[in-house]
Symmetry: C2
Subunit: 182 residues, 2 copies
């Protein structure tokens, strides 16, 4: 759970990174940046910040902002009814990072698994993303992402988003942020 002050600070930090990346937000969007600490209370290391531009029953587009070294923990988007699960394309706009998906594990990965969370990172096929590079993650596929030393801005293009149904490998994780007032 995050305190209101922490949420506001993270929003400002994310807005600065977006500005550096040349991404323009409206004032309302800036004030509503989603700060997801995944319920672990260590936002600097595990979590991410999101701006959802549009999420309809047909498609979704977001901007993901990661602080330097911040990790979006391992999860998958399961099938729901006739939907085979969310499919998403990550396009790096600024900074850099490493995406890990199911498949042949990469030797000597560049990211560092967050200390104390080792059992909950199980896929290690590495894709490095620098500005202009992108990768499409198939539905229902385990993946995680870590930003490099400057942080990263990633555009996510996808089928509809139902974040509350995401399945995280770490059972302690709660995807939907909860905030306590200071």
């Amino acid at each position: 759970m995050l305190r209101r002050r922490e949420v506001n600070e993270a929003r400002e930090r994310a807005a600065e990174i977006l500005a550096r990346a040349g991404v323009v937000l409206t004032q309302k969007e800036r004030a509503n940046i989603e700060v997801a600490d995944c319920g672990l209370g260590q936002l600097d290391r595990v979590g991410l910040q999101l701006v959802t531009y549009v999420n309809t029953d047909r498609y979704c587009a977001k901007e993901l902002v990661l602080f330097p070294g911040q990790t979006c923990p391992e999860h998958r988007h399961p099938p729901v009814g006739t939907d085979p699960g969310k499919m998403e394309t990550f396009r790096c706009r600024w900074g850099r990072g490493w995406l890990y998906v199911e498949g042949e594990p990469t030797a000597n990965i560049k990211a560092r698994v967050p200390q104390g969370s080792e059992p909950y990172f199980t896929v290690f096929h590495e894709i490095e993303l620098t500005p202009g590079e992108q990768y499409t993650i198939p539905p229902d596929t385990l993946h995680w992402f870590q930003a490099g030393p400057e942080g990263a801005v990633i555009s996510e293009f996808s089928s509809p988003s139902r974040d509350e149904l995401d399945i995280f490998t770490d059972p302690r994780i709660k995807r939907i942020p909860r905030t306590v007032e200071d």
Copy 2:
């Protein structure tokens, strides 16, 4: 129909505008920018340039680049089978422009209808788009767009794209570009 030289010049010009907007492309993407003169042979005034990042059977994402005063002519995305027609969200990233859709016509619109094409522009409900602003166009809805004096970069998030099925109000228009070698 465009000459190879014109296509290459338009690609360079579009790449410069994208760079100014802070949008990073790979070398391959730069070399393959789609230049659509709509078959009218007056690209500076009517047409657009596109970078398609991803177009799957579930979603599509593109960057649209318009030169100063360039117009993407009026068209709609019709239903196809069980698909009610392409739905798209235009988000202005850089520059500015005016989007026109079906609905109450705006008095004294800001765009100028391209001379000689007046009969083929029939919807005049104006939405001004400046950086950070966006608008979602419902399926099967007539729309057209004109960039302001600096040009514009517009991110398009949408359901799958089937450009060859677009229906243009101007029967002279051919959406799929054809190039003749110099």
